[in-house]
């Protein structure tokens, strides 16, 4: 074999030998992001590391590494766009590093066959993230808020809790939600007024479902478009969870 080709092959092997360590370091950055999703420095360091691995892999003729890193870059960019480094997103990022380690093994074989790894990469590309249902919950009782938060812990929902009607309106004006659950009795502005204001507005949440929690369902005005009125009785928690899990299609033990 040509002297230059031998040298290039040796350089490629050195790169492969060191790739495991590089993956370890980048995986640590992924874990750090799980703890601090807003840390731009950690994100930049991770992204640069993946980009660098992509360039090096390609230069060494390992195009499977370029493809894996390219897909991982896209995954990181999507997650960063929403600051959404939740556990499923983190697991997926880690799955890419597992794939890179497999390349390390396969590439060292005499006649490397990347077909299985390419199929695995395709599966990773196709696996869509389950989007979290964004819930705004306005509830004045601290205990009730804690109970609801605990009950929704395992559900694919992202709950934003407030105890104040004005704060609820402010959030509904500037942030997208999929559903709002409002207590009728709230600090500063009651739940019915919040629904009426948002429905009358051009806000992005003007048409989302609204659920009202109240001790007196019969006194709720009929001219406000509230999707469900749930009485504050012993079934309240069941009703709230069933309504939300009906939206997410998930199961819950209550």
């Amino acid at each position: 074999m040509d002297k230059i080709e031998v040298l290039l092959r040796q350089m490629r092997q050195t790169f492969l030998n060191e790739m495991g360590e590089r993956c370890d370091r980048l995986e640590q950055k992924v874990i750090e992001l799980e703890r601090a999703p807003d840390d731009r420095d950690v994100f930049e360091e991770l992204y640069r590391g993946v980009h660098s691995l992509k360039g090096s892999g390609g230069t060494h003729g390992l195009h499977i590494i370029t493809s894996i890193c390219h897909q991982l870059e896209n995954h990181l960019t999507e997650a960063a766009g929403t600051c959404d480094f939740r556990s499923s997103c983190i697991s997926k990022a880690l799955a890419y590093f597992d794939l890179l380690r497999k390349v390390q093994q396969v590439a060292s074989e005499d006649e490397p066959d990347y077909t299985a790894l390419e199929a695995e990469l395709e599966r990773l590309r196709e696996s869509k993230e389950q989007r979290l249902i964004q819930v705004l919950m306005a509830e004045p009782s601290n205990i009730m808020r804690q109970v609801l938060n605990k009950a929704l812990l395992d559900q694919p929902v992202q709950v934003t809790m407030v105890d104040d009607g004005i704060a609820a309106i402010e959030l509904l004006m500037r942030q997208k939600f999929d559903i709002a659950v409002l207590a009728r009795e709230l600090v500063r502005l009651n739940g019915v007024a919040v629904v009426a204001a948002i429905r009358a507005s051009q806000a992005r949440n003007a048409k989302i479902p609204f659920i009202l929690l109240t001790s007196n369902p019969e006194t709720v005005p009929l001219n406000v478009a509230i999707d469900r009125v749930l009485p504050r009785d012993k079934h309240l928690m069941v009703e709230v969870l069933q309504t939300l899990t009906g939206m997410t299609g998930s199961q819950t033990d209550i």
Partner: protein
């Protein structure tokens, strides 16, 4: 026609630097100076006096385009052909680099056995 001998290559990634050294020195027979950043290239160009400069587009700190502009402002550098190396070789991006004054764009990852030929072809086109 003047012969291409001295190439200044600006690339931040050590793995790519090492492969480029093999490609340009051993395969191409050029005299090569490698810099890891745009800032380093500005200093190095003053003493190395390259015939041609290869620039990575995406570099931390000063990117390839900025480095090219600053190099051009240095005495004796205005006529030195500069060539970008990038993984993004979409037609509109290539047009943009050429419009900014680059003499050519080489796609990354490059083939180490063919990189010298590509560089030489751009040189000859520029000096033909």
């Amino acid at each position: 026609m003047r012969t291409l001998q001295k190439i200044l290559y600006v690339e931040d990634e050590p793995d790519i630097q090492a492969v480029a050294r093999v490609a340009l020195e051993m395969v191409g027979g050029f005299t090569l100076e490698i810099c890891s950043s745009g800032q380093e290239a500005l200093e190095s160009a003053k003493v190395f006096h390259p015939d041609l400069i290869l620039l990575d587009v995406m570099m931390p700190g000063m990117d390839g385009l900025t480095t090219m502009r600053k190099l051009r402002d240095q005495p004796g550098m205005a006529a030195v052909p500069m060539v970008f190396m990038t993984a993004k070789v979409q037609p509109e991006e290539v047009q943009e680099y050429l419009a900014q004054g680059a003499k050519g764009v080489i796609a990354k990852p490059f083939d180490p056995m063919k990189l010298s030929e590509e560089v030489r072809a751009i040189w000859e086109q520029d000096h033909g």
